[in-house]
Amino acid sequence: MMKISCDIDIKHLTRVEGHGNIRIVIADGRVREARWEVVETPRFFEAILVGKHFENAPYICGRICGICSIGHTLASIRAVENTFGIIPTEQTRRLRLLLKHMETLQSHILHIYFLAAPDYLGVGSVLPLTQSHPAVVQQALRLKLLANDICDEVGGRRLHPTRTVVGGFTMLPDRYRLGQFRQRLQASLADLDASVELFATFTIPDFQRQTEFVSLKGEGDYPFIGGNLISSDGVVKEEREYAAMTNEYMADFSTSKLSRLSRKSMAVGALARINNNFAGLLPQAKAIAEGFGLGPVVVHNPFMNVVAQLVECVQVVLESMQLIDELLAEPWQEVRQTVEPRKGIGVAAVEVPRGILYHCLHLDGAGRIVKADCVIPTSQNHANILHDIEALALFCVDQGKTDKEIELLAEMLVRAYDPCISCSVH
C-alpha cells in the first residue's frame, strides 16, 4: 500500500545533543519536502582562539563539546605538538589513548542505552526502563561509571579534563588504581556480552542508501589518533591534507557547515570506521561485528551505526586492558616534555566517538594562534543525514508507512548518527 500524505514537523528533535529539526511532507503519494535543518547557535570558537597563546587551545576547544571534550582537547594538543615538532613519549601516547578509549566507551554507552535503545524498547526515555528493565539500566550505568572513573584517574576529570596539556600530562595516574581498573574492565566484558544479547533482540530497520565513508586509515590496526585518511571510495590523503577530505561549504538551512568528498555527501563515525578498518578489529570484536552482518564488505545501512558503536565498546575495552598492562610493565617516565614554540601550521586528525575530528592551528613564533579551524564529525555527517531523510521518505512512501511510523523512523535515523549538534556548529 502506498503512502498518500503526511506532514511531519519536528522542532528540536529530542534525545540528541543540540538543536535540529526534521520536516517531511508527503502529498498525493509524492515526497514534497524532506529536510534536516540545523538551527543551533554558533559560538565562534575559531575566532575566539585568534590571538590566544597555544596553551589556551586545548583548554578552550575542550569546551566545544560536553560529550567528547577529551577528544577535542587531545586534537588541539596534537595540532600544537605537530606544529612544534613534538613527538609524544610512548607513555604519553598510551595514556592519551587509554583516556580517549574511555571517552569513547562513555559516549557510546550514553548513546546506545540512553538515546537510541528507548526507541527499540518502545519508550520515550531511559526512565521507564528503570522499572521495566532494571538490569539493563544497571549494566549501562556500570559501564558508563567505569569509563568515567578511568577518565577521572587519567585525565583528572571526565568532562573538560584537567591533566591533559601540550607536552604530556600535569600528573600521572595512581598505579594501584590502574591495576584495579584493569580488573573492572575485565569484569565489564560480561556487561558488554549482555548488551550484545540485548541488541540481538532489536529489529534494526532494513534501510540502505549508498554513501562514502571517511575515517583514519588503519595500518593493520584500528586507529584512533593520527595517521593517514581514507574513504570507502578509495581516496587516501595525509593528515595535513584534511581540507581536501572535508571540503566544507555553507547552506541556508544549516548554521553548521557541511562536507562532501566524492559524492553529494559522506559519513563518518563508528560505522565508517568499521567499514574502512574492519580488518584491524581484535578477534573478539570482529566476531561480534560479523554476528550483526558487519564485515569487510561496506554496509550502507545508517541504522547500523549503533551496532558499530557496540562493537567498538568491546574493541576499546580490550585495547584498554592491553594499554594498562603495557603501562604497568614499566616504571613511570617523565610526565611532561619541555615545549619550545615554533612558527608553523599543525593539523590533528582524531577519531572521536561520532567520527573523525580535525583541528588545524596556525601559530606564530611566540606560540600565539593566528588562525584556527575545527572540522567536526557531525558537521561532516549533516549532508548525509539530509539525503538519508530524503531517501527514507521515499522508502516510507513505497512501504506505505503510517505517520507515526514515519516520524519514529526519521527520529531513529537521525539518532543513529548520534549527532552532536552544538559541536558541529561550535
Partner: protein, 265 residues
Amino acid sequence: MTMTKTFLGVPVARPKVAFLELSSCEGCQLQLLNNEATLLDFLSLVEIVRFREGMKEAGDEYEIAFVEGSITRADEEERLKRIRRQARVVVALGSCACFGGVNQLKNRFNDLEWVKREVYGSHPIDSQEAKPLSAVIEVDLEIFGCPIKKEEVERIVTALVLGQEVRHPQYPVCMECKARENICLFELGEPCLGPVTRAGCDAWCPANRMGCWGCRGPAPEANLARLEIIMAERGISRQRMIDRLECFGGFAGFVAEVKGKKEER
C-alpha cells in the same frame, strides 16, 4: 507536585523540573547523567518534565527551570523570557549561564562582524554578543563552574526541594586547595586564579596540577589588586593572567579595567 519521598519522616514534595539549554556544549546537563552511582536516587527527588537531551516527552508545566548556556541570538532571549514566565525558580546552570562562559570570549573583539567573517566568510549568520541569563531576566540561583560539579548540584537541588537556603562559599579556591594539602601551583611556576576565585569546587583543577582558570567567577572577598602583584612577583606574564581572567566572563569588570579597551580587528 507529588509527595512520594520522605525526609526525617516528613513527606517531601517532588517539584516538577525542566532542564533547558541556550548556547552551550550541554556538558552541564550531561554532568547530571555522569553521576551514575547516585543518578537514580537523584532522579527520584524531582519529577523531570523536560530534558530534551534525555527524553522524548516534553512538558511545559514546571516549577524549577535549570537553564544552561548563554544568550547569543534574539530567539534565545524570547525563549528565556517564556521560561521565566513559567518557572517559579530559574537556576542558571554553569558558567555560560552565570557569566557568558567561553562564549563571551568573542565579545573581547571590537568588531563582531569580523568574528562572523572569520568563521563563516561572506555567508550571513545571525549572532549577537554573548550574555549571561541575568542580562535578560531575573535569576533566582546560580550554580557556577565549567563544568558544574555534580556533588554541588545535588546538594543545591536537595536544598531547593527541602526549601533550605542555598549558600555559596565566600572564600576563594585557595582555601580548599590548602585544606587538600596540594602543592601550590605558583611553586611549580604555573599561573593560578585560586587566590581570587570563588570556592565550592574543592580545588578541582589545582588538585590535578592545573592552575585555576576562574570558571566560578570572583570570590566575594577576592583581592584582585593583590593577584596582579603575585603574578608579577612570580614572573607570570600579564597576558597569561588576562587569558585566564577573561576565559569565562566572571571577572569581566576587572578585565575591562586591566585591558582598557577591546582588541582591535
